[in-house]
Amino acid sequence: MTGPYSCCSCIVFVHSVSVDLNNDASLVIDIPDALCERDKVKFTVHTKTTLSSFQKPEYSVQRQHEDFIWLHDTIVETEEYAGLIIPPAPPKPDFEGPREKMHKLGEGESSMTKEEYAKMKQELEAEYLAVFKKTVQVHEVFLQRLSSHPMFRKDRNFQIFLEYDQDLTVRRKNAKEMFGGFFKNMVKSADEVLISGVKEVDEFFEQEKNFLLDYSSKIKDATAKAEKMTRSHKNVADDYNHISGALNNIAADNNTAFKKHLEKCAEVFEKLRVSISKVEDRMASDQELKLTELLRYYTRDIQAAKDLLYRRARALADYENSNKALDKARLKGKDVAQAEENQKQCLQKFDKLSESGKKELTSFKARRVVAFRKNLIEMTELEIKHAKNSVSLLQGSIEVLKSN
């Protein structure tokens, strides 16, 4: 299998790791379709709106991943939104896994039997599809969060993103900017350490800060474990393949009375494999979507919340600095007005951040809890269904073998 692998997914999900974000009909966004060519994924962003700020009631544009990143960055850099939790940017689509597999498949083609090859191909396709769906979903959710937020939806850039029917051709960050961004991050981390010493005046924020810090480390842990789990499930499905393949081989070699028996066993196992490995596979993907993705998303979200806190803390530090500057100025007797002005501004900023921050964090918490609840329930129910399915499959196989 070489060359561009194009796939087209026409599946719409109202799949939400956050609560359903499309309840407001005035601005409804979804990604009904996406195309992947080689490395690039082209998303079809579809907007339906009743807002007057938009020129048309409906849009459909093609966007690439980089466009999303651009949008995110511009929003982050907008000062106005400092007091808001900015929805985390969707991660880059990662087709590395399937691509590797495809490579292996291409190379090993001659050495594998036809069935093995077909099986591998099937698996590969399934994996590809899964990655694909995931990435579509995260991009969609990103947009939906923006659209459902009273402030963001009015953002000019956001509107351009939705409306502009040409290629956005966003200027990719050049090297300097990349480096600059990197540097900024470093500064930020250093800063965080510094201002963590600043005394927090507000009880609420103090609590939130601690909670978020704790939570973020725990969720990272949980994410890693969930990923391990889904990997193991995939392995189980694989193992079944191997076992039934081996049984088949043995049966083929044999010429005794045992053979029939073996064939029977191999048959049963094959059936079992086909169904159970599907069950396992699907369990793995369900788990992944419901749990792992959830965890991953909230890891990012937590980070966004932490960023908010950081900004606020920064503002607080600034305010305190301005206070000190004012005092100094008063002492020295010059530039007092300026210092006062500065101080006032800092205070304002800080207050604004605190206020909106409080709101944001509260709603964030609510959102988060609801999302977890929903997904965990769904996942549990799916797990139960899968397990019951497996049980009946196994029972059936055992019956068949026993009846031999």
Binding site: N255, H261, R282
Partner: protein, 595 residues
């Protein structure tokens, strides 16, 4: 899941070995057919909850593969699982009858023989015919065996009528008496005298590997000519004959691979294999113990099911003694309804060297006859040393457990071998309180020492694998031993024939040279050699038949074992899935309570 819980499992067919059943294919097809072809459009059938998930569109991703996952098979499998053992029996026996022994199926108890006898019987058998149904008791059989060395007299075979299957012609009664034990008869006949008879017969027979008179081979040939119309009652252990494949090697190797996986999986899943596991295992083994209890005529009848009347379990390994003289004593418990044992249940304590001793005795006695003696588990200095030293860590516990399981398997195989079961040594092993110490099996005996050293290094890394491999490989070696015996017999026969040929030529020359006195001598020699030739020929055929039977039985056991293991494995999978369900069910309300 209503569906799975409502369904009650089909009655477990007691007869175990219908490998040959065409019916079983049916079952398989049902399973396949339904699972794959079924459901493309998920039916809103409420009894199919598993499909519901797949019906929910937005959540689920792969809608089509879902349709394949199918819970139908339960239903269908139910419908189609063949239960009646008689069916199986019939199928079974319509097939293989080209080969020796087995079953002549006449459904009457007592007098089928005469019919059989009458049919293909050649002339000189009238005697035999007259007798068979009449004599059926031990005494008779004794007589029979007192006759032995008459090379050809068919008439003496009359006495052997007990086995009814005597069609006096050449060859072996040995086969005769091996057959009934081999043939599983499902008739619940009282054990009574015939069992003893067979036992003694066996021992006698062993002593006199001469061809007696007739029956069994005749009987065998009989079988050939009276195939289909005599469906025998399904004896599950009846050999499926047909192809006696010499592909033993392939087979064993294949089995090696398998036994690596399944028992290991099994072990992973079941920490302590309860001794009762042997109980379900036991019924699976051939009901060979039943066989001796029936007379040969009745052997043909079986309609009833396979019931294994000898359950063996090995439990309770205990360390006895101290330091380097310590050893593990295992409790060997036997439950049986066979009358050849003194009581119904008994327990003895045995140590590992006892098992080895048993093996050696049996090998000595039986491998001559081309039997496959099941190999005991191997010695392992490393493991035992650990145990002796008293380390209480999990690895030594595991070693003991593995050894226990292996010993149990070994004993199961021994007793499921119909001929071995008759051996007094085996009985002694099971019954006697104190066994004389089998000295030659000392772990550090000189001869075995070097071997042990070599094995020790392997043992360290490959204990589990080794155990199973050894079983299979030894099995193969055993069977090769059988084949060797057979080859030797054949060789002897050929040599005798050559001699005869030469003698004949000599005679011809003499005739030609016209020396009458030497002629007489030559004639004598010729007749002597003729006799030898016949004898060797018969011996050879006897051995061939035995070997063939053995191999087939071996095959079947392997098949059974394998099946059993696979089922165990699947059951443990099932178990863990059910546990999963439990846990998730418990979690669900908690998830719902998230606030």
């Amino acid at each position: 899941m209503a569906a799975s819980s409502e369904r009650s499992p089909p009655p477990f067919p007691d007869s175990e070995e219908p490998e040959l059943l065409e019916d079983s294919d049916e079952g398989a097809d049902a399973f396949t057919g339904t699972s794959i072809s079924e459901m493309d459009s998920p039916s809103p059938d409420s009894t199919r909850p598993p499909k519901d998930i797949f019906n929910e569109p937005p959540e689920d991703i792969f809608s089509d593969p879902l349709s394949n996952i199918n819970s139908e098979p339960q239903k269908k499998v139910d419908a189609k699982i063949p239960s009646p053992s008689s069916d199986e029996a019939i199928d079974l026996f319509s097939d293989p009858l080209d080969d020796d022994s087995e079953v002549m199926s006449s459904p009457e108890v007592q007098n089928p023989m005469p019919d059989l006898l009458n049919e293909p019987v050649e002339a000189p058998k009238s005697d035999v015919l007259g007798e068979p149904p009449v004599h059926r008791n031990a005494a008779r059989q004794q007589d029979v065996f007192e006759d032995p060395p008459k090379s050809s007299s068919k008439s003496s075979s009359v006495k052997k009528a007990a086995s009814a299957e005597m069609f006096g012609d050449d060859d072996d009664e040995e086969d005769l008496f091996k057959e009934p034990p081999n043939v599983v008869t499902k008739k619940p006949q009282p054990s009574g005298p015939p069992v003893d008879v067979f036992t003694e017969v066996k021992s006698d027979v062993k002593v006199k590997p001469q061809v007696k008179d007739d029956p069994t081979d005749l009987f065998a040939e009989e079988a050939l000519t009276a195939p289909a119309p005599k469906p025998s009652a399904g004896s599950s252990s009846s050999r499926t004959n047909g192809v006696h494949s010499e592909e033993q090697d392939l087979f064993s190797e294949a089995t090696v691979e398998l036994s690596l996986d399944s028992p290991r999986n099994d072990r992973k899943n079941k920490d302590a294999v309860k001794p009762s596991v042997s109980a379900p295992a036991a019924p699976v083994a051939s009901s060979s113990s039943k066989a001796p209890s029936k007379t040969l005529e009745e052997l043909e009848e079986e309609e009833s099911e396979d019931k294994f009347d000898l359950n063996i379990s090995i439990t309770n390994p205990e360390k006895v003694g101290d330091g380097m003289n310590a050893y593990m004593a295992y409790k060997v418990s036997t439950q049986t309804s066979l009358t050849m044992f003194r009581s119904k249940t008994f327990t003895v304590r045995r140590r590992f060297s006892d098992f080895l001793g048993l093996f050696e005795k049996l090998s000595e006695k039986h491998s001559q006859n081309g039997y496959l003696i099941p190999p005991p588990p191997e010695k392992s200095i490393l493991g035992m040393t650990k145990v002796k030293v008293g380390k209480d860590d999990p690895s030594s516990a595991e070693f003991v457990e593995r050894r226990r399981a292996a010993l149990e398997r070994y004993l199961q195989r021994v007793v499921s071998h119909p001929s071995l079961l008759q051996d007094p040594d085996v009985r002694e092993f099971l019954e006697k309180e104190e066994l004389p110490r089998a000295v030659s099996t000392q772990a550090l005996s000189g001869a075995g020492f070097l071997k042990m050293l070599n094995k020790a290094t392997d043992a360290v890394s490959k204990m589990t694998i080794k155990m199973n491999e050894q079983d299979v490989v030894s099995g193969r070696t055993c069977s090769q031993g059988c084949f060797d015996q057979r080859m030797k017999a054949w060789q002897r026969w050929q040599d005798a024939e050559n001699m005869l040929q030469k003698k004949r030529e000599a005679e011809a020359k003499l005739l030609w040279a016209n020396k009458p006195d030497k002629l007489q001598q030559a004639k004598d020699e010729i007749s002597e050699w003729e006799a030898k030739v016949t004898q060797y020929e018969r011996e050879f055929e006897r051995i061939s038949a035995t070997v063939r039977n053995e191999v087939i039985r071996f095959d079947k056991e392997k098949a059974r074992d394998f099946n059993r293991q696979v089922i165990k494995y699947l059951e443990s999978l099932l178990h863990s899935q059910q546990q999963l369900i439990k846990y998730w069910d418990a979690f669900l309300p908690e998830a719902k309570a998230i606030v």
